[in-house]
């Protein structure tokens, strides 16, 4: 017990640093993938066939293969195969590579959600805007957007919760996020070794963060329930 109390502050400190990196990856992914997903969604709905086909094939590949493989390829491919290590060394290089992989991966998932949301708006809504003399832009901003938002919030919430847990995959390229930080105490770090409890303890961080997000997203969903 005494030992545990001694170790506790050291572990918490380390985990906090790791969790900060986890949060950074989470927010960068969200901020990057949300708009990129929209671009991909419009690409996949394009009337220009070659564009929509290429976009859909890319989305299919990215969604159909493990994110872990994508992380490894994006991190190692430029250096090992092209002999051009674009990511640079160290933690900042790993963070860039992880961000790129996560943004591409999540943008593809988001694009499918957006596409479903956009296509879920009934044609009659667009026609109603048209007969009232609205332009395409007015129809998008004033009629479609809110209906799309309402349709995508529940599936987006699911993806966002999944993203929180997926950030741990960045451990595979040794990004110093919270799992990496917890694991360090198993191997030995700051005078603590063979301790597995810090690893379990990382779970508490995920649970709390996801709990907060679930409440927040639930609140947004409820706000949007003012109409049906």
């Amino acid at each position: 017990m005494e030992l545990f109390l001694q170790q506790m502050p050291i572990v918490i400190n380390s985990l906090n640093v790791g969790f900060l990196q986890t949060l950074r990856l989470f927010f960068v992914t969200l901020l990057g993938a949300a708009p990129l997903g929209l671009v991909i969604a419009f690409g996949s709905m394009s009337k220009f066939k070659p564009l929509s086909i290429v976009t859909r094939v890319i989305v299919w590949i990215v969604r159909g293969s493990p994110l872990m493989i994508q992380l490894l390829i994006i991190y190692y491919f430029p250096g090992l195969v092209l002999h051009n290590p674009i990511w640079g060394g160290g933690e900042s290089g790993r963070f860039l590579a992880a961000s790129a992989a996560f943004i591409i991966n999540y943008a593809c998932y988001f694009s499918e959600i957006y596409r479903g949301g956009i296509q879920s708006v009934p044609v009659g809504q667009i026609e109603a805007g048209k007969v009232l003399g609205m332009t395409k832009g007015q129809i998008f901003w004033r009629i479609k957007l809110m209906q799309v938002v309402k349709a995508i919030v529940p599936p987006m919430s699911n993806e966002i919760i999944t993203l929180v847990k997926d950030t741990s995959l960045a451990r595979i390229i040794a990004l110093q996020e919270i799992i990496w930080a917890g694991q360090a105490f198993m191997k030995g770090s700051q005078g603590i070794s063979g301790a597995i409890w810090p690893m379990f303890f990382t779970g508490v961080y995920y649970l709390i963060f996801n709990g907060v997000l679930t409440l927040l997203l639930g609140w947004v969903e409820k706000k949007l329930n003012y109409y049906r």
């Binding site: 007969v131 003399g133 209906q147 109409y227």
Partner: protein
């Protein structure tokens, strides 16, 4: 007021409008009747630019939306079609806006009316369709008949010269049908120019100044209600109908 000549329209090679010509004069109520699939909706949709014709001419108030199959630029199309109002079979109210906002949105963003003025006009129209007390309601909180009355008010808010209805009551049960027909009847008393596609034969007979009977993409009978309903072809149709 409306002048449509030699309209042609086909879907996948199938002729849906086959050389249709229709004139509508100011203050006139024209009812279009005919079997399902005869092209009534397609005609109305072409007149409101929801579909494009393959050939023919549509002039509204002397301005050509399409001349011999050639459409004017998109901006002018919108301006010309603002002279037309359209009421859908299934209302198509904006679900995320309350009743008042449904009525003011286009007034403000299309006609650039002042917000206060738009709201005042919207309230006046809501009173007219008997829904003065429902301006804060959302469409899902209204019955079908109420929704359709809001949709009529929404169309009226832009002061169209011609108001078009595509089977405005066929999504409603008989009781609600009557309240909507009542509103249309009141509009006809104000000498509003209207084109009404309908299956309500008694209503057509009573309210229309002219009845147009369509069959397989052509107008086979046209004239005063009494005349048209007494012609052999239409008798065969209405006889089947009731």
């Amino acid at each position: 007021m409306l002048n449509a000549n030699h309209l042609k329209k086909s879907f996948d090679g199938l002729g849906v409008l086959r050389d249709i010509s229709l004139q509508v004069n100011e203050g006139e109520v024209v009812a279009i009747i005919g079997k399902s699939g005869s092209g009534k909706s397609t005609l109305l949709r072409c007149l409101n630019n929801l579909e494009q014709v393959d050939g023919g001419t549509i002039e509204i108030d002397g301005q050509a939306l399409v001349k011999d199959g050639v459409y004017c630029p998109a901006r002018e199309q919108r301006a010309i079609c603002l002279k037309m109002g359209y009421v859908f079979q299934n209302f198509n109210l904006f679900p995320h806006m309350n009743v008042l906002r449904n009525l003011t949105e286009a007034q403000v963003c299309v006609l650039k009316r002042d917000k206060e003025k738009a709201a005042a006009y919207a309230r006046e129209l809501l009173k007219k369709v008997g829904l003065a007390d429902r301006e804060a309601a959302y469409p899902y909180q209204l019955s079908g008949g109420q929704q359709q009355r809001v949709a009529i008010a929404r169309a009226l808010a832009l002061d169209p010269e011609i108001l078009c209805f595509d089977e405005p009551t066929s999504a409603l049960d008989p009781l609600l049908t009557q309240e909507v027909l009542g509103v249309i009847r009141a509009l006809s008393k104000e000498k509003r120019t209207m084109i009404v596609v309908t299956h309500e034969m008694n209503f057509a007979r009573e309210v229309a100044d002219r009845v147009v009977f369509m069959e397989e993409g052509v107008i086979v009978a046209e004239g005063a209600p009494q005349e048209v309903f007494d012609s052999e072809k239409v008798k065969a149709f209405t006889g089947l109908g009731d």
